[in-house]
């Protein structure tokens, strides 16, 4: 009878972890996840860990003209179908505050639906109610007027500075570095490196990222599992030098929270923060085929 109090490894799902530390959400990493012995005994494998470092969007997507019209239309309908405001709960009947609220509501109604639709009887008086700007309203409430928001298009969008982390604020950016691949050629690729003895994939990924791109970045690796794998086609001579083993590169996703990349200058010389479409022409076709489906289109 299986003991319910035993913590068992989740190698096979039938024996679920019934007690697990709340911290580790992913299933317990089985001990042979990253060792080369996970391969069948016929061929050996050399593993590399790469990091897809993602800068998430900073601002929401710009709405299209249709979306703006749709949302404006729905807002006006919502306002038209509002339940009547419970003035008797919030204001004393006939009080000055109630009258002030009624005046402000009229302004908001006019803003939403236009108007006035009635014949102007008293010309000069009706001008006073309309058109109190938001800055004046804020000042009358005793608050400081708010600064206008920053522009949606950054300086780096105009200059095309691909090293800037503020470029393309609506899109997902990924860190691409120019460095040597396994054959020694200078290519654009994601930061990667090898695994040490007994090291897990996610530990190697973090170590390789800081080794290639410096420690000046605040990053977080998503989980412990790889999200893609690339098997680079090897020539016979390279295969012999690796001892007849296949080379697998496992990609892990990470987010950058602060800082900037600083290439180490030895095996990595340059870097760029690029969107999915900008990565495609720079990387090798086989590499792109392994990686394209995990990059975001937005």
């Amino acid at each position: 009878m299986l003991s319910r109090n035993a913590v068992s490894t989740c190698r096979h799902r039938s024996r679920a972890c019934l007690h697990a530390p709340s911290r580790s959400l992913a299933s317990v990493a089985s001990s042979s996840s990253s060792a080369a012995s996970s391969e069948p005994s016929t061929s050996k494998a050399v593993l590399h860990a790469a990091v897809i470092l993602n800068r998430s969007p900073i601002i929401t997507r710009t709405p299209t003209l249709f979306e703006r019209a749709y949302y404006a239309y729905q807002s006006r309908i919502r306002r038209a179908l509002f339940n009547p405001f419970p003035t008797d709960f919030y204001f004393k009947t006939g009080s000055l505050l109630e009258k002030k609220f009624a005046r402000e509501e009229k302004v908001r109604e006019r803003e939403a639906f236009g108007g006035p639709w009635t014949v102007k009887r008293q010309g000069p008086e009706s001008e006073d109610e309309v058109g109190t700007s938001t800055a004046d309203q804020a000042e009358s409430m005793g608050e400081e007027p708010m600064d206008p928001p920053a522009p949606r298009i950054h300086e780096s969008d105009r200059t095309g500075d691909v090293k800037s982390l503020d470029r393309m604020s609506e899109r997902n950016l990924y860190l691409l570095v120019r460095g040597k691949d396994h054959l020694g050629n200078e290519v654009w690729r994601f930061p990667q490196g090898g695994l040490h003895e007994g090291e897990h994939l996610h530990q190697a990924a973090l170590r390789d990222l800081t080794a290639e791109c410096g420690e000046n970045m605040d990053t977080w690796i998503v989980g412990k599992k790889p999200i893609a794998v690339h098997q680079a086609p090897l020539s016979e001579s390279v295969k012999k030098s690796l001892g007849g083993a296949e080379l697998y590169t496992f990609f892990l996703k990470a987010h950058i929270l602060a800082g900037q990349a600083r290439p180490n200058g030895t095996n990595v010389t340059d870097f760029a923060w690029l969107t999915k479409e900008e990565i495609e022409p720079r990387v090798d076709q086989a590499y792109w085929a392994s990686v394209k489906d995990i990059l975001s289109d937005f």
């Binding site: 989740c10 039938s14 309908i77 997902n172």
Partner: protein, 300 residues
């Protein structure tokens, strides 16, 4: 036959008109409602939909959904073995009990089920947020519920059938179900609750995360359960994360802060985040989802 007689005896109506199908009586057209001037108000089928892009909904679809897929994925190299047939209450072969309702002995053990195999179609999502508050003073006088109802209405923006959506329920009154001496009787109003879905839910979540939680005194995070907590109990397998706010938190909501004096007495509330996660360890997956919205969790 007249329409009224047909309503009372539909079978006779069918035979009288020589129709095999049961005929439905003609709909009784209700007279139109009249406004204060006596003019009829026509019924208009207008439903209000999204009035703006929800920032947190976009964040979920841009970033969180992918991350959660990677974090909650469990690799199953072999298909699952078929589950053991449960022990049923009655013998299904015995002709005396053959067609009887036959539940499994010990219940259907829903909380002990493993979650379904991980796939891009069943990534955890936030389904709704429920705010519930028990008002003890409501047993003394029902008018003590009015302030909490208005406050929850201001916080949530929910109204009964708001925007022409007939499933929108707005702020509901919670009534007692059991008879407990000196506290509650069946049927008396005891609390208020409101269910938030869609854009209202995302707006409430962003206000909670940006305005309320950072300004709450002595709040390090939603308490986490320790390692001895079992993951296959109903509480842990339901995919619901709950926590409470003290009465002092009410004034931190900007909708309440603007006219705080209008509400007679501050009250605390319980907030339940209902997600689509089910099965063993569902609450842990729900906590991972909520962490993505910047809700802190802390060891108690």
């Amino acid at each position: 036959m007249s329409a009224q007689a047909a309503t009372r005896a539909p079978r006779l109506a069918a035979t009288a008109g020589r129709s095999i199908r049961r005929t439905r009586p003609a709909p009784q057209l209700k007279p139109l409602k009249r406004d204060e001037k006596g003019l009829p108000v026509p019924h208009v089928h207008v439903v209000v939909r999204d009035t703006h892009r929800s920032r947190l909904a976009d964040h979920y679809h841009n970033t969180l959904q992918d991350d959660l897929l990677y974090m909650t994925y469990v690799h199953e190299p072999t298909p699952r073995p078929p589950p053991r047939p449960p022990r049923l209450t009655y013998d299904p072969n015995d002709p005396y009990t053959k067609h009887r309702f036959n539940p499994p002995l010990g219940g259907n053990r829903w909380s002990k089920q493993l979650p379904p195999p991980a796939s891009p179609d069943n990534i955890i999502q936030l389904e709704r947020i429920q705010i519930h508050s028990q008002i003890k003073q409501a047993t003394v006088s029902r008018t003590n519920l009015l302030g909490p109802i208005m406050a929850l209405r201001a916080i949530s923006g929910a109204n009964d059938q708001a925007g022409g959506q007939h499933t929108a329920e707005g702020v509901q009154i919670v009534r007692g179900r059991k008879n407990l001496q000196g506290w509650v009787r069946p049927g008396i109003p005891v609390g208020v609750k409101v269910d938030l879905k869609g854009p209202q839910m995302w707006d409430f979540l962003s206000i909670l995360v940006e305005f309320v939680l950072p300004r709450l005194r002595d709040f390090q995070g939603i308490p986490l359960e320790g390692p001895s907590n079992r993951l296959d109990k109903p509480h842990s397998a339901s995919g619901v994360v709950s926590f409470g706010l003290p009465p002092t938190a009410l004034g931190l909501f900007p909708q309440i802060e603007v006219n705080y004096d209008a509400y007679p007495a501050p009250f605390g509330m319980h907030i339940h985040f209902v997600t689509s996660a089910k099965g063993v360890g569902a609450q842990n997956r729900a906590r991972a989802l909520l962490s993505g919205f910047q809700i802190p969790f802390a060891r108690s």
